[in-house]
Protein backbone atom coordinates (compact mmCIF):
# COMPACT_ATOMS: atom_id res chain seq x y z
CA UNK A 1 0.00 0.00 0.00
CA UNK A 2 2.73 2.43 1.00
CA UNK A 3 4.68 1.59 -2.12
CA UNK A 4 1.54 2.18 -4.18
CA UNK A 5 1.17 5.62 -2.66
CA UNK A 6 4.87 6.26 -3.19
CA UNK A 7 4.53 5.25 -6.80
CA UNK A 8 1.72 7.76 -7.23
CA UNK A 9 2.72 10.54 -4.88
CA UNK A 10 2.97 13.18 -7.59
CA UNK A 11 -0.22 12.00 -9.28
CA UNK A 12 -2.07 12.16 -5.97
CA UNK A 13 -0.73 15.61 -5.13
CA UNK A 14 -1.59 16.83 -8.63
CA UNK A 15 -5.18 15.67 -8.28
CA UNK A 16 -5.21 17.23 -4.83
CA UNK A 17 -4.14 20.67 -6.13
CA UNK A 18 -6.38 20.47 -9.20
CA UNK A 19 -9.48 19.59 -7.21
CA UNK A 20 -8.47 21.81 -4.28
CA UNK A 21 -8.21 24.85 -6.54
CA UNK A 22 -11.61 24.04 -8.06
CA UNK A 23 -13.13 23.70 -4.58
CA UNK A 24 -11.66 27.05 -3.47
CA UNK A 25 -13.07 28.84 -6.52
CA UNK A 26 -16.41 27.08 -6.10
CA UNK A 27 -16.54 27.97 -2.40
CA UNK A 28 -15.82 31.61 -3.18
CA UNK A 29 -18.87 31.80 -5.42
CA UNK A 30 -21.21 29.53 -3.47
CA UNK A 31 -20.28 30.28 0.15
CA UNK A 32 -18.36 33.53 -0.08
CA UNK A 33 -14.95 32.15 0.99
CA UNK A 34 -12.32 34.80 0.57
CA UNK A 35 -9.36 32.60 -0.34
CA UNK A 36 -9.38 32.36 -4.11
CA UNK A 37 -12.10 34.31 -5.89
CA UNK A 38 -12.77 34.68 -9.61
CA UNK A 39 -11.69 31.94 -11.98
CA UNK A 40 -8.68 30.85 -14.02
CA UNK A 41 -9.04 33.87 -16.31
CA UNK A 42 -8.49 36.29 -13.46
CA UNK A 43 -8.61 35.85 -9.72
CA UNK A 44 -7.75 37.36 -6.39
CA UNK A 45 -5.79 35.35 -3.83
CA UNK A 46 -6.61 36.11 -0.17
CA UNK A 47 -8.47 39.17 -1.41
CA UNK A 48 -5.12 40.80 -2.10
CA UNK A 49 -2.91 39.21 -4.74
CA UNK A 50 -4.24 39.56 -8.30
CA UNK A 51 -3.56 36.79 -10.79
CA UNK A 52 -4.54 36.96 -14.45
CA UNK A 53 -4.25 34.74 -17.49
CA UNK A 54 -1.41 36.23 -19.58
CA UNK A 55 -2.70 34.65 -22.80
CA UNK A 56 -6.12 36.25 -22.32
CA UNK A 57 -4.41 39.59 -21.65
CA UNK A 58 -2.38 39.20 -24.84
CA UNK A 59 -5.57 38.63 -26.82
CA UNK A 60 -7.14 41.68 -25.16
CA UNK A 61 -4.09 43.68 -26.22
CA UNK A 62 -4.40 42.36 -29.79
CA UNK A 63 -8.11 43.21 -29.78
CA UNK A 64 -7.23 46.80 -28.87
CA UNK A 65 -8.48 46.93 -25.28
CA UNK A 66 -6.97 49.27 -22.73
CA UNK A 67 -5.00 47.12 -20.30
CA UNK A 68 -5.74 48.05 -16.69
CA UNK A 69 -2.96 48.22 -14.09
CA UNK A 70 -4.56 45.55 -11.90
CA UNK A 71 -4.59 43.21 -14.86
CA UNK A 72 -0.98 43.96 -15.71
CA UNK A 73 0.13 43.23 -12.14
CA UNK A 74 -1.85 39.98 -12.19
CA UNK A 75 -0.27 38.94 -15.46
CA UNK A 76 3.20 39.75 -14.13
CA UNK A 77 2.68 37.63 -11.03
CA UNK A 78 1.45 34.64 -13.04
CA UNK A 79 4.25 34.87 -15.61
CA UNK A 80 6.93 35.09 -12.91
CA UNK A 81 5.38 32.18 -11.00
CA UNK A 82 5.33 29.88 -14.01
CA UNK A 83 8.75 31.03 -15.17
CA UNK A 84 10.00 29.68 -11.89
CA UNK A 85 8.09 26.41 -11.49
CA UNK A 86 7.73 25.53 -15.18
CA UNK A 87 5.24 27.01 -17.62
CA UNK A 88 3.11 23.98 -18.14
CA UNK A 89 2.84 23.30 -14.44
CA UNK A 90 -0.44 25.11 -15.10
CA UNK A 91 -1.47 22.28 -17.42
CA UNK A 92 -0.68 19.36 -15.14
CA UNK A 93 -1.25 20.85 -11.69
CA UNK A 94 -4.04 23.42 -12.16
CA UNK A 95 -6.04 22.98 -15.37
CA UNK A 96 -9.23 20.93 -14.89
CA UNK A 97 -9.09 19.63 -18.48
CA UNK A 98 -6.00 17.66 -17.51
CA UNK A 99 -8.16 15.26 -15.49
CA UNK A 100 -10.28 14.53 -18.56
CA UNK A 101 -7.38 14.02 -20.94
CA UNK A 102 -5.48 11.93 -18.37
CA UNK A 103 -8.51 9.65 -18.19
CA UNK A 104 -8.51 9.34 -21.99
CA UNK A 105 -4.81 8.49 -21.92
CA UNK A 106 -5.28 5.95 -19.18
CA UNK A 107 -8.04 4.22 -21.16
CA UNK A 108 -5.92 4.38 -24.30
CA UNK A 109 -3.10 2.56 -22.52
CA UNK A 110 -5.53 0.11 -20.91
CA UNK A 111 -7.19 -0.83 -24.19
CA UNK A 112 -3.92 -0.87 -26.09
CA UNK A 113 -4.92 1.82 -28.61
CA UNK A 114 -1.35 3.11 -28.56
CA UNK A 115 -0.04 -0.22 -29.81
CA UNK A 116 -2.39 -0.19 -32.81
CA UNK A 117 -1.85 3.44 -33.72
CA UNK A 118 1.82 4.07 -33.07
CA UNK A 119 2.46 7.18 -35.12
CA UNK A 120 0.19 10.14 -34.48
CA UNK A 121 -1.12 11.80 -37.65
CA UNK A 122 -0.74 15.40 -36.50
CA UNK A 123 2.02 17.83 -35.59
CA UNK A 124 2.49 19.05 -32.05
CA UNK A 125 3.20 22.49 -33.46
CA UNK A 126 -0.47 23.06 -34.31
CA UNK A 127 -0.84 24.83 -30.95
CA UNK A 128 1.59 27.56 -31.96
CA UNK A 129 -0.35 28.10 -35.17
CA UNK A 130 -3.54 28.33 -33.11
CA UNK A 131 -1.88 31.06 -30.98
CA UNK A 132 -1.01 33.03 -34.11
CA UNK A 133 -4.51 32.52 -35.48
CA UNK A 134 -6.16 33.61 -32.20
CA UNK A 135 -4.16 36.84 -32.20
CA UNK A 136 -5.00 37.56 -35.84
CA UNK A 137 -8.72 36.98 -35.22
CA UNK A 138 -8.61 39.01 -31.99
CA UNK A 139 -6.99 41.86 -33.87
CA UNK A 140 -9.32 41.80 -36.85
CA UNK A 141 -12.63 41.26 -35.02
CA UNK A 142 -11.77 43.28 -31.91
CA UNK A 143 -12.73 40.53 -29.46
CA UNK A 144 -10.70 38.03 -27.47
CA UNK A 145 -10.98 35.16 -29.95
CA UNK A 146 -9.92 32.14 -27.91
CA UNK A 147 -11.76 33.24 -24.79
CA UNK A 148 -15.07 32.85 -26.61
CA UNK A 149 -14.42 29.23 -27.59
CA UNK A 150 -12.02 28.05 -24.88
CA UNK A 151 -13.21 24.70 -23.51
CA UNK A 152 -10.84 25.22 -20.58
CA UNK A 153 -12.65 28.27 -19.27
CA UNK A 154 -15.98 26.74 -20.34
CA UNK A 155 -15.35 23.74 -18.11
CA UNK A 156 -13.73 25.66 -15.27
CA UNK A 157 -16.39 28.37 -15.32
CA UNK A 158 -18.94 25.58 -15.53
CA UNK A 159 -17.76 24.09 -12.25
CA UNK A 160 -17.63 27.45 -10.46
CA UNK A 161 -20.62 29.31 -11.94
CA UNK A 162 -22.91 26.71 -13.53
CA UNK A 163 -22.30 24.35 -16.42
CA UNK A 164 -25.00 24.81 -19.07
CA UNK A 165 -23.98 22.88 -22.14
CA UNK A 166 -20.37 22.89 -20.94
CA UNK A 167 -20.55 19.13 -20.44
CA UNK A 168 -20.53 18.84 -24.23
CA UNK A 169 -17.06 20.44 -24.31
CA UNK A 170 -15.88 17.88 -21.74
CA UNK A 171 -17.29 15.00 -23.75
CA UNK A 172 -15.82 16.21 -27.04
CA UNK A 173 -12.32 16.55 -25.58
CA UNK A 174 -12.61 13.17 -23.89
CA UNK A 175 -13.69 11.37 -27.08
CA UNK A 176 -11.21 13.26 -29.25
CA UNK A 177 -8.29 12.27 -27.05
CA UNK A 178 -9.54 8.73 -26.64
CA UNK A 179 -10.27 7.82 -30.25
CA UNK A 180 -8.94 10.47 -32.64
CA UNK A 181 -5.57 11.66 -31.46
CA UNK A 182 -3.37 10.67 -28.53
CA UNK A 183 -2.84 13.77 -26.35
CA UNK A 184 -4.95 15.51 -28.97
CA UNK A 185 -6.18 18.52 -27.04
CA UNK A 186 -3.46 19.17 -24.47
CA UNK A 187 -0.54 18.03 -26.58
CA UNK A 188 -1.45 19.30 -30.02
CA UNK A 189 -4.14 21.97 -30.17
CA UNK A 190 -4.52 23.89 -26.91
CA UNK A 191 -3.01 27.36 -27.46
CA UNK A 192 -2.94 28.04 -23.72
CA UNK A 193 -0.65 25.04 -23.28
CA UNK A 194 1.39 26.34 -26.20
CA UNK A 195 1.63 29.74 -24.57
CA UNK A 196 2.79 28.26 -21.27
CA UNK A 197 5.29 26.12 -23.23
CA UNK A 198 6.84 29.36 -24.46
CA UNK A 199 6.95 30.81 -20.93
CA UNK A 200 8.30 27.49 -19.62
CA UNK A 201 11.41 27.77 -21.80
CA UNK A 202 12.93 29.90 -19.08
CA UNK A 203 11.80 27.96 -16.03
CA UNK A 204 14.06 26.71 -13.26
CA UNK A 205 12.51 23.46 -12.12
CA UNK A 206 13.29 20.65 -14.55
CA UNK A 207 13.15 16.90 -14.82
CA UNK A 208 16.69 15.53 -14.99
CA UNK A 209 17.71 12.23 -16.56
CA UNK A 210 20.54 10.14 -15.18
CA UNK A 211 21.54 7.71 -17.89
CA UNK A 212 23.76 5.63 -15.58
CA UNK A 213 20.70 4.39 -13.67
CA UNK A 214 18.53 3.84 -16.74
CA UNK A 215 17.62 0.25 -17.57
CA UNK A 216 15.84 1.18 -20.80
CA UNK A 217 12.46 -0.11 -19.60
CA UNK A 218 10.74 2.82 -21.41
CA UNK A 219 8.00 3.14 -18.80
CA UNK A 220 8.61 6.88 -18.71
CA UNK A 221 7.97 7.25 -22.41
CA UNK A 222 4.79 5.21 -22.11
CA UNK A 223 3.21 7.54 -19.56
CA UNK A 224 4.59 10.84 -20.83
CA UNK A 225 2.00 13.11 -22.43
CA UNK A 226 4.65 15.13 -24.29
CA UNK A 227 6.87 12.23 -25.24
CA UNK A 228 9.09 14.26 -27.58
CA UNK A 229 10.64 16.05 -24.59
CA UNK A 230 12.12 12.77 -23.34
CA UNK A 231 14.37 12.33 -26.37
CA UNK A 232 17.45 11.95 -24.14
CA UNK A 233 16.25 8.81 -22.38
CA UNK A 234 18.87 6.02 -22.58
CA UNK A 235 21.22 8.44 -24.36
CA UNK A 236 22.41 11.38 -22.25
CA UNK A 237 22.36 12.63 -18.68
CA UNK A 238 20.80 16.03 -19.31
CA UNK A 239 17.73 17.88 -18.03
CA UNK A 240 14.54 18.10 -20.04
CA UNK A 241 14.91 21.55 -21.55
CA UNK A 242 11.80 21.76 -23.72
CA UNK A 243 9.12 24.08 -22.39
CA UNK A 244 6.55 21.55 -23.56
CA UNK A 245 7.31 19.34 -20.54
CA UNK A 246 4.43 19.78 -18.11
CA UNK A 247 6.45 18.86 -14.99
CA UNK A 248 3.71 16.37 -14.18
CA UNK A 249 6.38 14.06 -12.76
CA UNK A 250 4.69 10.88 -13.95
CA UNK A 251 8.00 9.78 -15.49
CA UNK A 252 9.76 10.26 -12.16
CA UNK A 253 7.32 8.09 -10.24
CA UNK A 254 7.04 5.28 -12.76
CA UNK A 255 10.83 4.98 -12.97
CA UNK A 256 11.94 2.05 -10.82
CA UNK A 257 15.61 2.81 -11.23
CA UNK A 258 15.93 6.41 -9.99
CA UNK A 259 16.98 7.54 -13.45
CA UNK A 260 14.68 10.59 -13.45
CA UNK A 261 14.39 13.34 -10.85
CA UNK A 262 13.48 16.97 -10.34
CA UNK A 263 16.30 19.43 -10.21
CA UNK A 264 16.84 23.15 -10.39
CA UNK A 265 18.24 24.39 -13.65
CA UNK A 266 20.95 26.62 -12.32
CA UNK A 267 22.30 24.06 -9.88
CA UNK A 268 22.62 21.56 -12.70
CA UNK A 269 24.62 24.02 -14.70
CA UNK A 270 26.91 24.72 -11.76
CA UNK A 271 27.38 21.03 -11.13
CA UNK A 272 28.23 20.37 -14.73
CA UNK A 273 30.67 23.23 -14.73
CA UNK A 274 32.37 21.97 -11.59
CA UNK A 275 32.51 18.48 -13.06
CA UNK A 276 34.08 19.89 -16.18
CA UNK A 277 36.63 21.66 -14.05
CA UNK A 278 37.50 18.43 -12.29
CA UNK A 279 37.83 16.69 -15.59
Amino acid sequence: MISLINKHKYLISRRFTQIGILVLYFGANAYGWNILIGNLSSSLLFGLIPMSDPYAALQMYAAGALIATDLLIGVGIVVLLYMFVGGRVFCSWVCPVNMITDLSNYLRRRFGFNLIQKKQPASRNIRYWVIVMSLVISFSLGVTAFEFISPISMIHRGVVFGLGFGWAAMLIIFLFDLFVLKNGWCGHICPLGGFYSLIGKFSFIRVHHNVDNCTECMKCKEVCSEVQVLHMITKESIPVISGECTNCARCIEVCDDDALNFSIKKLIKNKEESQNEIN
Binding site: G38, S42, L66, F148, M154, R157
Partner: protein, 275 residues
Protein backbone atom coordinates in the same frame (compact mmCIF):
# COMPACT_ATOMS: atom_id res chain seq x y z
CA UNK B 1 25.86 -4.53 -63.98
CA UNK B 2 25.84 -1.63 -66.36
CA UNK B 3 22.06 -1.62 -66.37
CA UNK B 4 21.81 -1.22 -62.61
CA UNK B 5 23.48 2.16 -62.32
CA UNK B 6 20.92 4.27 -64.19
CA UNK B 7 18.14 2.50 -62.30
CA UNK B 8 19.65 3.57 -58.99
CA UNK B 9 19.96 7.11 -60.26
CA UNK B 10 16.35 7.02 -61.27
CA UNK B 11 15.42 5.88 -57.80
CA UNK B 12 17.32 8.74 -56.23
CA UNK B 13 15.56 11.18 -58.51
CA UNK B 14 12.22 9.66 -57.61
CA UNK B 15 12.93 9.99 -53.93
CA UNK B 16 13.94 13.62 -54.39
CA UNK B 17 10.79 14.44 -56.32
CA UNK B 18 8.53 12.70 -53.79
CA UNK B 19 10.31 14.64 -51.03
CA UNK B 20 9.55 17.84 -52.82
CA UNK B 21 5.97 16.78 -53.42
CA UNK B 22 5.55 15.80 -49.81
CA UNK B 23 6.89 19.17 -48.71
CA UNK B 24 4.55 21.05 -51.04
CA UNK B 25 1.63 18.88 -50.01
CA UNK B 26 2.35 19.51 -46.34
CA UNK B 27 2.56 23.23 -46.98
CA UNK B 28 -0.75 23.18 -48.82
CA UNK B 29 -2.31 21.14 -46.02
CA UNK B 30 -1.14 23.62 -43.39
CA UNK B 31 -2.46 26.56 -45.37
CA UNK B 32 -5.75 24.77 -46.03
CA UNK B 33 -6.24 23.78 -42.42
CA UNK B 34 -5.34 27.26 -41.17
CA UNK B 35 -7.79 28.86 -43.59
CA UNK B 36 -10.55 26.42 -42.67
CA UNK B 37 -9.96 26.73 -38.93
CA UNK B 38 -9.61 30.49 -39.08
CA UNK B 39 -12.79 30.92 -41.08
CA UNK B 40 -14.93 28.71 -38.89
CA UNK B 41 -13.45 30.24 -35.77
CA UNK B 42 -13.91 33.87 -36.80
CA UNK B 43 -17.39 33.18 -38.18
CA UNK B 44 -18.40 31.64 -34.87
CA UNK B 45 -16.90 34.44 -32.78
CA UNK B 46 -18.47 37.07 -35.01
CA UNK B 47 -21.87 35.40 -34.73
CA UNK B 48 -21.76 34.83 -30.99
CA UNK B 49 -20.72 38.40 -30.19
CA UNK B 50 -23.44 39.90 -32.40
CA UNK B 51 -26.17 39.51 -29.77
CA UNK B 52 -27.29 43.01 -28.82
CA UNK B 53 -30.17 42.28 -26.46
CA UNK B 54 -28.08 41.78 -23.36
CA UNK B 55 -28.06 43.82 -20.16
CA UNK B 56 -24.65 44.39 -18.55
CA UNK B 57 -23.75 45.24 -14.93
CA UNK B 58 -23.59 48.94 -13.96
CA UNK B 59 -20.63 50.91 -15.28
CA UNK B 60 -20.07 48.56 -18.22
CA UNK B 61 -18.21 50.00 -21.20
CA UNK B 62 -19.98 50.27 -24.56
CA UNK B 63 -20.77 46.72 -25.73
CA UNK B 64 -18.02 46.65 -28.37
CA UNK B 65 -15.34 47.73 -25.90
CA UNK B 66 -16.85 45.59 -23.18
CA UNK B 67 -16.44 42.44 -25.28
CA UNK B 68 -12.74 43.04 -25.77
CA UNK B 69 -12.01 44.19 -22.22
CA UNK B 70 -14.02 41.74 -20.08
CA UNK B 71 -11.81 38.81 -19.05
CA UNK B 72 -14.83 36.75 -17.90
CA UNK B 73 -13.53 36.18 -14.36
CA UNK B 74 -16.92 36.49 -12.66
CA UNK B 75 -15.74 38.75 -9.82
CA UNK B 76 -18.74 41.04 -10.39
CA UNK B 77 -21.02 38.00 -10.20
CA UNK B 78 -19.51 36.99 -6.88
CA UNK B 79 -19.63 40.53 -5.51
CA UNK B 80 -23.35 40.94 -6.20
CA UNK B 81 -25.26 40.36 -2.94
CA UNK B 82 -28.56 39.70 -4.71
CA UNK B 83 -27.36 37.03 -7.17
CA UNK B 84 -28.53 39.30 -9.96
CA UNK B 85 -25.59 38.68 -12.26
CA UNK B 86 -24.75 35.52 -14.16
CA UNK B 87 -21.92 34.52 -16.47
CA UNK B 88 -23.25 33.36 -19.85
CA UNK B 89 -23.09 29.59 -20.10
CA UNK B 90 -22.99 27.55 -23.30
CA UNK B 91 -26.67 27.35 -24.24
CA UNK B 92 -27.60 30.84 -23.01
CA UNK B 93 -27.06 32.16 -26.56
CA UNK B 94 -25.08 35.10 -25.24
CA UNK B 95 -21.38 35.95 -25.63
CA UNK B 96 -19.84 33.12 -23.65
CA UNK B 97 -18.66 33.85 -20.13
CA UNK B 98 -19.67 37.51 -20.04
CA UNK B 99 -21.81 38.82 -17.13
CA UNK B 100 -25.44 39.78 -17.69
CA UNK B 101 -28.73 40.03 -15.81
CA UNK B 102 -32.35 39.34 -16.58
CA UNK B 103 -34.53 41.78 -14.60
CA UNK B 104 -37.73 39.73 -14.82
CA UNK B 105 -35.89 37.03 -12.85
CA UNK B 106 -33.66 39.14 -10.59
CA UNK B 107 -33.33 42.89 -11.18
CA UNK B 108 -30.44 45.12 -10.11
CA UNK B 109 -31.24 46.47 -6.66
CA UNK B 110 -28.93 49.44 -7.15
CA UNK B 111 -26.68 49.07 -4.08
CA UNK B 112 -25.31 52.48 -3.15
CA UNK B 113 -21.78 51.07 -2.72
CA UNK B 114 -21.96 49.25 -6.11
CA UNK B 115 -19.91 46.22 -5.00
CA UNK B 116 -19.77 44.74 -8.51
CA UNK B 117 -17.83 47.56 -10.13
CA UNK B 118 -14.62 48.18 -8.14
CA UNK B 119 -13.75 44.44 -8.15
CA UNK B 120 -13.42 44.38 -11.94
CA UNK B 121 -9.72 43.76 -12.66
CA UNK B 122 -9.77 44.93 -16.29
CA UNK B 123 -11.84 48.08 -16.14
CA UNK B 124 -14.58 46.55 -18.31
CA UNK B 125 -16.82 47.87 -15.54
CA UNK B 126 -15.60 51.42 -15.37
CA UNK B 127 -15.63 52.95 -11.91
CA UNK B 128 -15.36 56.47 -13.35
CA UNK B 129 -18.62 56.13 -15.24
CA UNK B 130 -20.52 55.60 -11.98
CA UNK B 131 -18.67 58.20 -9.95
CA UNK B 132 -19.91 61.72 -9.46
CA UNK B 133 -18.20 64.27 -7.24
CA UNK B 134 -15.68 61.70 -6.02
CA UNK B 135 -18.34 59.31 -4.78
CA UNK B 136 -19.86 56.16 -6.27
CA UNK B 137 -23.30 57.03 -7.53
CA UNK B 138 -25.46 54.21 -8.82
CA UNK B 139 -28.12 56.66 -10.03
CA UNK B 140 -25.96 57.80 -12.95
CA UNK B 141 -25.37 54.25 -14.21
CA UNK B 142 -26.81 53.38 -17.60
CA UNK B 143 -27.50 49.65 -17.70
CA UNK B 144 -30.48 50.03 -20.00
CA UNK B 145 -33.73 51.87 -20.46
CA UNK B 146 -37.24 50.79 -19.50
CA UNK B 147 -39.73 50.74 -22.35
CA UNK B 148 -43.53 50.51 -21.99
CA UNK B 149 -45.82 48.61 -24.32
CA UNK B 150 -48.96 50.77 -24.18
CA UNK B 151 -51.12 48.03 -25.66
CA UNK B 152 -50.57 45.56 -22.86
CA UNK B 153 -50.04 47.98 -19.95
CA UNK B 154 -53.28 47.82 -17.98
CA UNK B 155 -52.83 51.40 -16.71
CA UNK B 156 -53.37 52.49 -20.31
CA UNK B 157 -56.60 50.44 -20.32
CA UNK B 158 -57.89 52.55 -17.47
CA UNK B 159 -57.32 49.98 -14.74
CA UNK B 160 -55.53 51.49 -11.80
CA UNK B 161 -52.02 50.11 -11.47
CA UNK B 162 -48.84 51.85 -10.42
CA UNK B 163 -46.69 48.80 -9.65
CA UNK B 164 -43.76 49.99 -11.77
CA UNK B 165 -43.98 53.54 -10.43
CA UNK B 166 -43.89 52.27 -6.84
CA UNK B 167 -41.07 49.81 -7.55
CA UNK B 168 -38.83 52.38 -9.20
CA UNK B 169 -35.83 53.30 -6.99
CA UNK B 170 -35.63 56.68 -8.72
CA UNK B 171 -39.33 57.13 -8.00
CA UNK B 172 -40.92 60.17 -9.55
CA UNK B 173 -37.92 60.95 -11.76
CA UNK B 174 -37.37 57.84 -13.87
CA UNK B 175 -41.05 56.95 -14.00
CA UNK B 176 -43.76 59.54 -13.56
CA UNK B 177 -47.53 59.08 -13.69
CA UNK B 178 -49.38 61.34 -16.10
CA UNK B 179 -53.12 61.87 -15.74
CA UNK B 180 -55.46 61.92 -18.72
CA UNK B 181 -59.25 62.02 -18.74
CA UNK B 182 -61.02 58.73 -19.39
CA UNK B 183 -63.54 59.74 -22.05
CA UNK B 184 -65.20 56.32 -22.00
CA UNK B 185 -66.56 56.66 -18.47
CA UNK B 186 -66.42 60.42 -18.36
CA UNK B 187 -65.59 60.50 -14.67
CA UNK B 188 -62.32 58.57 -14.26
CA UNK B 189 -58.70 59.25 -15.11
CA UNK B 190 -56.08 57.23 -16.90
CA UNK B 191 -52.93 57.15 -14.75
CA UNK B 192 -50.28 56.43 -17.32
CA UNK B 193 -46.66 55.60 -16.41
CA UNK B 194 -44.03 57.44 -18.48
CA UNK B 195 -40.31 56.63 -18.44
CA UNK B 196 -37.72 59.41 -18.58
CA UNK B 197 -34.42 58.37 -20.11
CA UNK B 198 -32.42 61.06 -18.29
CA UNK B 199 -33.07 59.33 -14.98
CA UNK B 200 -33.80 55.68 -15.80
CA UNK B 201 -30.80 53.45 -14.97
CA UNK B 202 -32.26 50.27 -16.44
CA UNK B 203 -32.18 48.44 -13.11
CA UNK B 204 -35.34 46.55 -14.08
CA UNK B 205 -37.18 46.72 -10.75
CA UNK B 206 -40.21 47.92 -12.76
CA UNK B 207 -40.00 44.92 -15.11
CA UNK B 208 -39.70 42.69 -12.06
CA UNK B 209 -42.76 44.27 -10.44
CA UNK B 210 -45.00 44.45 -13.52
CA UNK B 211 -48.24 42.57 -12.92
CA UNK B 212 -49.02 41.48 -16.49
CA UNK B 213 -48.32 37.93 -17.61
CA UNK B 214 -45.44 39.04 -19.78
CA UNK B 215 -44.11 42.38 -18.54
CA UNK B 216 -45.61 45.43 -20.25
CA UNK B 217 -42.61 47.45 -19.06
CA UNK B 218 -39.22 45.97 -19.82
CA UNK B 219 -35.59 47.02 -19.96
CA UNK B 220 -33.68 47.15 -23.22
CA UNK B 221 -30.05 48.13 -23.77
CA UNK B 222 -29.98 51.90 -24.35
CA UNK B 223 -28.41 51.41 -27.77
CA UNK B 224 -31.47 49.40 -28.79
CA UNK B 225 -34.17 51.41 -27.02
CA UNK B 226 -33.11 54.91 -28.01
CA UNK B 227 -33.20 56.79 -31.28
CA UNK B 228 -30.97 59.70 -32.19
CA UNK B 229 -32.10 63.02 -33.61
CA UNK B 230 -28.71 63.76 -35.12
CA UNK B 231 -27.20 67.12 -35.96
CA UNK B 232 -29.87 68.22 -38.43
CA UNK B 233 -32.34 69.15 -35.74
CA UNK B 234 -31.90 71.42 -32.78
CA UNK B 235 -34.17 72.74 -30.09
CA UNK B 236 -33.98 76.36 -31.09
CA UNK B 237 -35.67 77.41 -27.87
CA UNK B 238 -33.17 75.59 -25.68
CA UNK B 239 -29.78 77.29 -25.24
CA UNK B 240 -28.23 74.11 -23.80
CA UNK B 241 -29.13 72.02 -26.81
CA UNK B 242 -26.52 73.84 -28.88
CA UNK B 243 -23.82 71.93 -27.03
CA UNK B 244 -25.11 68.74 -28.65
CA UNK B 245 -24.41 69.94 -32.19
CA UNK B 246 -21.29 71.97 -31.40
CA UNK B 247 -18.95 69.56 -33.18
CA UNK B 248 -21.42 68.58 -35.87
CA UNK B 249 -19.95 68.13 -39.31
CA UNK B 250 -22.22 68.32 -42.31
CA UNK B 251 -20.09 66.26 -44.64
CA UNK B 252 -19.97 66.81 -48.38
CA UNK B 253 -23.04 66.27 -50.50
CA UNK B 254 -22.28 64.31 -53.64
CA UNK B 255 -25.78 64.15 -55.13
CA UNK B 256 -26.05 66.39 -58.16
CA UNK B 257 -28.84 68.94 -58.01
CA UNK B 258 -31.45 68.65 -60.71
CA UNK B 259 -31.00 71.27 -63.40
CA UNK B 260 -34.63 71.25 -64.43
CA UNK B 261 -36.85 73.89 -62.95
CA UNK B 262 -39.72 72.97 -60.70
CA UNK B 263 -42.27 74.20 -63.20
CA UNK B 264 -41.06 71.76 -65.83
CA UNK B 265 -42.00 68.81 -63.74
CA UNK B 266 -45.62 69.90 -63.77
CA UNK B 267 -45.84 70.48 -67.53
CA UNK B 268 -43.46 67.93 -68.88
CA UNK B 269 -45.59 64.95 -69.74
CA UNK B 270 -43.32 63.72 -72.54
CA UNK B 271 -42.31 60.54 -70.79
CA UNK B 272 -45.94 59.44 -70.47
CA UNK B 273 -46.40 58.95 -74.20
CA UNK B 274 -44.85 56.49 -76.59
CA UNK B 275 -43.00 57.92 -79.54
Amino acid sequence: MSNNIPEEENKEKEIKSTDRRLFLLNMARTVGLTALGGLVWSAYVDEVTASTLILRPPGALKEKDFLKTCIKCGMCVEACPFDTLFLAKPGDNKPLGTPFFEPRKVPCYMCTDIPCVPVCPTGALDEKSVTSEGKLDIEISEMGLAVIDKESCIAFWGIQCDACYRACPVLGDAISVEYRKNERTGKHAYMEPVVHSDYCTGCGLCEHACVTQKPAIFVLPREVAMGKAGAHYIKGWDKNDEARVKDAYGGTTTTELSKRSALDSLNDSGSLFDD
